[in-house]
Symmetry: D2
C-alpha cells in the first residue's frame, strides 16, 4: 500500500500518518520527493487494511492498494495449473475440451438429438439448462426437475458428463444429484450465498464472468468457492456489456492470457451468448482457442428456428461439425489436441 | 415487431416470411420500399415471440422489437405514481424521503449514535446492513442476526422504520421479521429466486440497479417482484461501471427522468457508493434531488475513519446536517418538501 | 512511482532494479514486506519516466504511477479558480453562466429569433454552429463562413458574445475573427494539432470532453492548450458512451466535483446532447447546476420540428424560460446568481 | 423507418403523423395492433429524414431507424471484397498481411534494425511513427519530417512499403510524399477535415477505430473517405475503452465477423496497443487471425526497454519470429497464407 501526500502536506501531517500506520501494526516508509512525499506501507499483505483511518487524516490525497485481494486462486499461491477432473476428462490440461448442447432442455427428443449430434463430432460434455435465469418473468423458465431427470437419463444412457446451471441454494441439492458440473451463470457471479454453497459441494463448478465483472471480481468470486473447500473451479469468459451493441455482448478474449497469468484455474469461453448470431459463433470459437482457452461451451440445437430460447445463436449440428474441424486445426497449430477428437498433438507448441 | 428484408430478397422469400408470421398467429404488413421491403408484425403485444422462426428464414437480415417486455411496472399499464407506504411515510409522492445510517451495523452504540444524529436532521428511515455482500470473502460480512436484532431494537426505541439488505432466500424470513423495507443489492438485481421470494413478501422492496444493468433490465427485475403480487417496489440508482474510474461508479442521473417517464414506481438515489469519497456525496445528493429523485439513501457514520466498511464514503453527522439543509433548499426550488424536515413546499413547482 | 516485485523475486533482482532507477537519475526506496518487496521511486516528479527500462527487468510485476501527468491545469499548480473573461462576463466565478441558441445556424431569421428569445430569459452567450462535425458525410455540414458572418452580425446588433465550433486549423483564423469563444467539439478533443493552434489564439476556448475520454484525458487535452500560452480554457461535460442507450449519452455529473477538485478551470455542462430529447434537458440542467457546474450550454430552437440538426433535443423558447426560472432557484439554493438574470445571491452558500 | 405511437394515441393523432410523412415525400403504412399502432415509412432509403418533424407530433413515442446511414462502404452496395493494393501487395484478399516495426522512428539504426528483423520473418509492410499523437504534451512527439525521411530511405534501400500516421491536413502533403499507406489514428477517427483530405489522396488509408467508436461510427468515418473518391481504405480494430482495465484497451475481435459481413473493405487488427504488454500480444495476434482478420499491425523494437514510446508492448525480434510461426499455422488452419512467408495455402478453407 502506498499513501500519497498532498504537495503542501506538512512534516507534522506526514508524521501523523506514519504514527497511524504503526498503530495499525504496519511499517511506514516515508519517501520524500521534490514535490511531495509518498509513504509506503509494508506488513499488510493479506490483511484487509482499514484505509479509512488513513484517508481521513489531513494531507492524505490518495491511497494506492497493491496487494491482490485474492489468494487461493492466484498463481503466486499455487504455480501449477489446476486440472479439474470430470470422470476421466481433464479440464485445464493440454487438451481442449468442448461442452455443447442446447441452451435449454425442451424435451427428451430434442436433448438426445442435440447430444448425439455433438458427441459424434467430439464434444465431451453435454450442456443443457433445466433452470433458466431469464431477464423477463414472462419468458420460459426451464423444465426444472423434469429437465434434470432428462439430463440424468442422458448421462446414464450415453455415458457422458453433463453441465447445467444452478440458480439458487434451494435447488442446489437436486442439481448436485443430477449434474456432473454445476454452472453458476453470469447474473449470479456475485450471489455469495450460492457461491459459498457450491464451495461446499463435491461437484466441479463452472463459474461464468458477470456482464460487468472485472477479472478481479471474477477471481474474488472464485475465491469464495475455493475458501469453502471446493478447488474444482473452471472460469468462463462469456462477453461483457459495452457501448457498442453490434453483438449481444463484447467477448473479451484479451482476458484469457491475463487470467492464465493470474490464476492456475482453467479458463474456457462461451462464444454463443456473446455472438448472439450463429454465423459469428464459429469465428469466435476459433479465436478463443487461438488465444489459449482450455475449452469452449457452445449452444447447438437440432432445429434452432424452433428453440424455445436463444435460437438465433444456436449452431445446427452440421455447422457444429465444421466448427470442430476448424478448432481442431487451430488447437493443433498450438500443439494442443481437442479431447474426444484428436488424441495426439500434430505440432509441437 | 418489424422484419427487415435484405435488399436482394425475392418475392418468394417475402411471401414465406409473411406465411410464417401468420402461422405464428400474428398479422404481417409488408411495406415495399425503393431498395428493400420491411414487414410489420401486429398482434404480438405482450407475447414472447419466437423470433428464431423468422430470423432463420432466407432473406431476413434484421428483426426490430418494439414492444416493451415489461407490463406491470410501466406507466402505460398504470398511469398514476405508486406511493409506497412505510408506516405513515409516503415514498414516491410530492415529498422527498431521506434514508440514512451506517453502511454496516457494527455495534449498538455505533448504530444508535448514527441513527440519532441523522434523525435529528430529518432522515425518516434508518439504513444499516446486517448481512453484507462483499467482493472479497475475507472482508467483514456483517453481524448477521445480531445486527438485525439491533435494528429491531432501534426501530422500537426510536419509532423509526429501518431498511436493510436481504442476501438470500434462507435469511429472508428473518430479515422480513425485523426490517420495514427489504433491500435487494446491486449484485442480486438479477437473482430471480430472491426477486420472486420478496415478491411474495408483504414488505416494501428497495431494488438497487445492477452495476451494468440497463434501465430495461432494472424494470424487468421489478416486474419479477410485481408479478408475484408485491406492488410496493422502490427503484434505486446507485451508479454503474464505466471506462473512467475517477469515482467508484458513474452515477447515472439521466436515468431519473427516463425512469419517471417509463414507470409509476418511486425512484431514489444512493450517492454514497458512486461517489466513493465523502466530499463528493453532497454535490451528488443535491444533483439527484434536482434531477427529480423521490429520495436518497446515504451512508452516515459517527466516526468514518473507524468504520469497518466503506468508511471513505460515509458522511460525518455535521456534514449530513449540511447536506440536509442544501437538499431542502434544492427540493424547495422544485416545490417539494423534504419529509421529516420541511412540511410545506416553499415554491410552487 | 512504485515498482512492485514478484513474491519470488531474488535479492539480486531487487538490487538490479534499484541500480537501474539510480542510473535513470532517480532515488530507489526498497520496502521489504512479508510476502514481497515494493520499491518507491522519488525524484521523478514532472518527468516522463521511461518505465519500459524497469518493466523489462526480471522480477518486476507491476509499476504504479502516482504523479499526475498534467501540471498547468492542476489545482496544485494554481490554487485559485481561473475566471475566464468574455468581454465583461466572468465564467468560473460565483455566477452561473448560460450559453444558449440553436445547434446550427440555419438562417438569419432562425438565428436572431433563437438569440432574442434566449437573451430575454437570461442567456449571456449565444451558441450556434457554422461548421458542424457530423457522423455521416450526407448530413448537413453547416453554413460555413456564411454562418460565421451571421453570428458576427448578431454579435454586433445585439451586443452579445458568441461561441461556435472550430473544426480544423484551416478555418481557425476565420472562426477566431468572428467568434468570442472557440469551441472544440468532443470528436476533436484529442486533435492535438488543433489544440496547439487554439493554444496560440487570444480567444477563450470551450473544450468538450470526448465520448470516451477520462477526466485525465480531458485535463491533458486542456494542458495542450495552456502549454501554448492560452490560459482561458472552459471545460465542458457533455455525456459519455455507456452500455445503456436509454439516452443519447450518459451525462457524468459526478465529474463536476472531481474536476473542481483537480483543476482551477471553469466547468460547464451541455445537457442537450446527452439527453437527446427535450423533456430530459431541464432535469439535467437543474442537476448540473446543483452539482456545482459554473454554467450550461443549451440548444434552443424557435421551431425544433424543422431544425436541420438535432431538433429532438432543442428546447422551444418557453421551455427554455422555464428552465431558466428553475435553475435560478437551484443556483440560489447554493448561494449563486445566474448571470444576466439574478444579480444578487439570495441565500448564503 | 418505423413510428411507434402511444397506446393511448387517437385516430386523429395517427392521421396527422401519416399526413406529415406524406408531406415529407414518403409513404406511411399504419399498422394497428391490439394495444398500439405503429406506422411504417417507406421511400426514405438513403435520405436523411428530418425526424424531428415527426417526433414532435402528439402521440409519437418512438422512432426506429432501420436504413443503414452508410452506402459506399457497405456490402449491399458492393458485394465483392475490396483488395487494397500497395505496390504488388494485395491487402484484403486470401493472404494475411503483417505490418510491423517500431511504434516511433527514433533513429536510423533503430528503424533499420527493426525493419530488417521483421522483414526476415515475413512482415511485408514497415510501420513507424514520425508524428505521434500523445495524450500528454510533455511526451515525445516524434521526429517529424526527419522521421519521414528515414522511412523514405528505408523504403528505397529495402524495397518495402511503409505505413505512418498523418496527424493533420498541414503535414498531409509531406506524409503523402513519403508514405505508402496513410494511417489515421484512433483519436482522429472523427476528424472529418482530415478524413476528407485523405479521401482526396491517391494513397491507401489505414483507418483505426476510435476508443469508443461503434462499428457504425467507423463505417461512417470510412464513408467520408470513399465519398471523396479514395476507395482504398483498410479498417483496423485496435481495442476500445471498457470498465475493466486489465489491459490497456479491450480488443473487440467480435467486430471482425460483423465488419466482414457489413463491408467489403479489408479489416486488420492491432494487437499491440490493446494488450499493452508484450506477453499478451502473441495470443491476441493468433486470435485475430483465427477470427478472420486480413492482417495485423504489430509493434517490434530491437530493444524495447529503451523505446521512447510504448516499450512495454513492443515485441523483441525473436518473439516476433515466434508470433509469425504461430500465426502462419493459424492462417494455414483456415486455408490462408501469410503473405511474404507462406506462398501456398496448406489447407483448403
Amino acid at each position: 500500500m502506498l499513501i500519497v501526500m498532498d504537495a503542501h502536506a506538512t512534516a507534522e501531517q506526514i508524521a501523523r500518518v506514519c504514527d497511524e500506520i504503526r498503530q495499525m501494526g504496519y511499517q511506514p516508509h516515508p519517501m520524500p520527493g521534490p514535490t511531495r512525499t509518498a509513504i509506503g506501507v509494508t506488513g499488510n499483505e493479506g490483511a484487509i487494511v482499514q484505509t479509512s483511518r488513513i484517508s481521513s487524516l489531513p494531507g492524505v490525497i490518495d491511497i494506492v492498494r497493491i496487494t491482490k485481494p485474492y489468494k487461493l486462486v492466484s498463481r503466486e499461491f499455487k504455480e501449477a495449473d489446476t486440472i479439474v477432473r470430470v470422470g476421466d476428462l481433464p479440464i485445464g490440461g493440454p487438451g481442449v475440451v468442448v461442452m455443447a448442447g442446447p441452451c435449454t432442455v425442451e424435451s427428451r427428443d430434442q436433448l438426445f438429438a442435440s447430444a448425439r449430434a455433438v458427441l459424434a463430432h467430439g464434444a465431451t460434455v453435454i450442456r443443457g439448462g433445466a433452470y433458466k435465469p431469464r431477464s423477463s418473468p414472462y419468458s420460459f423458465q426451464g423444465l426444472g426437475e423434469a429437465g434434470l431427470r432428462l439430463l440424468a437419463e442422458l448421462r446414464q444412457e450415453l455415458g457422458v458428463p453433463v453441465v447445467t446451471e444452478v440458480l439458487d441454494t434451494e435447488t442446489l441439492p437436486l442439481v448436485e444429484e443430477y449434474a456432473d458440473i454445476l454452472q453458476i451463470g453470469a447474473r449470479n457471479m456475485q450471489n455469495y450465498s450460492l457461491l459459498r454453497a457450491v464451495g461446499r459441494s463435491h461437484r466441479p463448478v463452472l463459474l461464468k464472468r458477470g456482464f460487468a465483472a472485472t477479472l478481479q471480481d471474477l477471481l474474488l468470486a472464485a475465491e469464495y468457492i475455493l475458501v469453502e473447500g471446493n478447488r474444482q473451479v473452471i472460469l468462463c469468459e462469456r462477453g461483457v456489456r459495452s457501448f457498442d451493441q453490434h453483438s449481444r455482448f463484447m467477448l473479451d478474449l484479451g482476458a484469457i492470457p491475463v487470467l492464465k497469468a493470474l490464476t492456475h484455474l482453467p479458463v474456457i469461453v462461451d462464444p454463443s451468448h456473446a455472438a448472439g448470431q450463429a454465423d459469428r459463433v464459429i469465428p469466435m470459437a476459433r479465436a478463443a482457442v487461438a488465444a489459449g482457452a482450455d475449452g469452449l461451451i457452445v449452444e447447438v440445437h437440432p432445429d434452432p428456428a424452433f428453440a424455445v430460447c436463444d435460437g438465433e445463436q444456436a449452431l445446427v449440428p452440421h455447422r457444429f461439425a465444421e466448427m470442430m474441424q476448424q478448432i481442431e486445426r487451430i488447437a493443433a497449430a498450438l500443439g494442443r489436441p481437442v479431447l474426444g477428437r484428436s488424441p495426439q498433438p500434430t505440432h509441437p507448441a
